[in-house]
């Protein structure tokens, strides 16, 4: 199946349904925690004929079980970072090898971030992979830098964001540049008071939420602040991805002029009613359920904890659900965990 997926990543036509059902059969066979999960729902490959009926595994499963469908021992794993809920377990995404991950990421990045250029100087507001070998983000940035970087430099070390070096590098830039980092790293950058005016064609790719960090900023506000720091010509683009996925989705600002997100042909994003897990109609919020066929070595069918809305021309992520609150003087679990930082 690896060969087939590599052809798909290279643009070969394929039937999504057919490939999804075959991957389901393979992962049901090979990944015991996923098989048990499906069995409890009465959904085995023998019963499922429509890919939309394949059970979506909650991403929390990656914290508690080894979600692995490869052969032999995995060559590598990436680990999730903590969340607002503090000292919880971290999830691990295991890979038999990193070939598919590398191969799927580049065409998506090219399409949504660099549709108009072959290469660009890249500045990473992240630790290099050597410093953080289990960060999927560092690894991913490095892949893109190798493929598309006219130059590549990293501006986070164990002490945090290297503001002076970043500012110097940005001031020295002669043409457009691409900055990549977590949303939170960009908050740090704007808070540092850094101020430059980047050339037209420059862009920022940010990803991830704030995960309980000291300062939370809405996305529109963040983009306004970034343009304040880097100049009005900078285009800001959000990546929707997570450690548990191999592929990513992106704002389609550069390809369609719409910031609604799109992904590659081998990813389908649907919104499910959190109560029934039925797909909700376009325009209605639901839990983001991702089918990422590039997740061959783990589980391709994921149920996230994000709320999103699908439209004809793409989807929007409304963010991690803020957690429920009790209606009175009782306290609901999420509030309790926040107050007590468990």
């Amino acid at each position: 199946m690896e060969e087939e997926l590599l052809r798909i990543f290279a643009g070969a036509p394929f039937s999504f349904e057919d490939v999804a059902l075959r991957i389901f059969a393979r992962q049901y066979e090979r990944c015991l925690p996923y098989r048990r999960f499906c069995d409890r729902r009465g959904k085995s490959p023998a019963q499922v004929t429509d890919w939309r009926e394949i059970p979506h595994l909650p991403v929390t499963a990656f914290k508690h079980a080894r979600i692995y469908s490869g052969q032999g021992e995995p060559a590598h794993y990436f680990q999730t970072s903590g969340t607002t809920q503090g000292q919880e377990r971290r999830g691990r995404h295991y890979f038999e090898k990193l070939d598919l991950y590398a191969a799927c990421s580049r065409p998506i990045f090219k399409r949504f971030i660099l549709p108009d250029r072959e290469r660009i100087p890249m500045l990473m507001l992240a630790q290099p992979p050597a410093a953080n070998p289990h960060s999927s983000l560092s690894w991913y940035f490095d892949q893109q830098a190798q493929a598309f970087g006219e130059s590549a430099a990293w501006f986070v070390d164990e002490h945090g964001l290297k503001v002076a070096e970043l500012e110097a590098a940005l001031k020295a830039a002669e043409g457009p540049v691409l900055l990549l980092g977590t949303a939170f790293a960009f908050v740090h950058m704007v808070d540092s008071g850094l101020s430059v005016r980047l050339a037209p064609g420059s862009r920022v790719m940010e990803t991830g939420g704030f995960k309980g960090k000291s300062r939370e900023v809405g996305r529109d506000e963040l983009y306004r602040l970034i343009q304040g720091a880097l100049g009005p010509d900078v285009v800001c683009l959000n990546q929707y991805g997570m450690t548990e996925m191999s592929s990513n989705c992106y704002d389609q600002t550069l390809v369609k002029g719409s910031s609604r997100k799109g992904g590659p042909a081998w990813v389908r994003v649907r919104m499910l009613d959190p109560e029934t897990l039925e797909e909700v109609p376009h325009g209605t919020p639901g839990i983001v359920a991702v089918t990422d066929l590039a997740n061959l070595y783990s589980c391709a069918f994921l149920l996230t904890q994000d709320i999103g809305v699908a439209y004809e021309d793409g989807f929007e992520v409304l963010g991690r659900a803020p957690g429920s609150e009790a209606r009175g003087c009782s306290i609901a679990m999420d509030e309790f965990l926040q107050v007590n930082r468990l």
Binding site: R327, G328, S330
Partner: protein, 415 residues
Amino acid sequence: MKVIDDLLAAQAELSRRPVEAILAALDRVAARWLDHADPIRREAEARLAETTGLAPAMLRRGLDETITRLRGIGELLDQDLGSRYALDGFVQRARGVRSRAFGPGLLVAVFSGNVPGISSFDMALALALKSACLARPAREEPAFAPLFARSVAEVDPLLGRCLAVQRWSYDEDWPYARAGAVVVYGSDRSVEAVRRLVPGGVRFLGHGHKISFALVAREAAVAETARRLALDVAMYDQQGCVSPHMAFVERGGPLSPLAFAEACGDALAELEREMPRSRLSQEEALALRSARDEAEFDADAVFGSQGNLAWTVIHYEAPAFMPSPLNRLIRTYAVDEIGDVVEVVSPYRSYLQTVAYAGPADRREELAGRLGALGATRVCPLGMVQQPGPLWRHDGRPAAGDLVRWIDIEEPSGP
């Protein structure tokens, strides 16, 4: 503010009325509410079903229980004040002291929307203390308090003029300036928001975040107990501060803790037919979904409704303390000895409130003493969490006693 002027003017008149006459009027109000055919009761049931989404069968049951408490206010006054007549004049106390009690004059009450009908008690208690009440109902449940005030006005116009119901924002301070006491129910955040606006010297009673739980001694680990637990979980969709978040089940009884959890699930399924859970917000549904997903990989067993999130029982063979996302999700924990629970809950002492207990009375007392030392304030029979008697000391405080102030006359001592 005119509303305050009007309330205080009516209260001046009410202060001359004997307490028995007020209690008699409140009894007539209660009688109207307990008559299921009374138009105001019917209107309340319909509006509450619409605004809260709670099941009609549950609302009927809840209103009966809540209104019945009003009939015990006379007894509550006797308990807290020594005698209800201390509100009418001086009553004899020990050592020759004679004392008289005064209500707050104006009670300002900020209610939460989790248990509809519960605001009737504070409003009625204020009246019994010859005081007016300005009530602020919650956004989620604005219907009951005005209907209750209307029913009081219909029975007794003067009492009616002593009640006003309206909403104001959490940053407005005018309601509190002339209050004698302020009571707030809600999240810690809501309680704090109001506390900051209340002038020093005005009595402030805040009922913030609380967590309740259930204890099942091995002798009581039977299906009937599981049904009682399910009722406590289902009532008001677990939103009450008295609603159990978790149950600790002792090993060695007729039902193993695991079998008990399953029986509780069966009972919740039955209750879902009789009084189905209310609609959920997106956040609530997602919180339930996440808790179930997590449990599927870290719990020892999960029992849950199929195809929706109507009810969930999550079972663990080792005890822990983890509040529920509410809306009919309960975690059950096996324990070797029921007394082991004291240590498990002790880090969360400031949250503890109601302990619903099923088991022999002789084991209960020792446990209650230890839990009381931590901070729990009520031990009640399982299945009865929503039916505290009128003498209930909510969060450990005397309801009427906290609202009055006293004047004592001391006799000259000897010649």
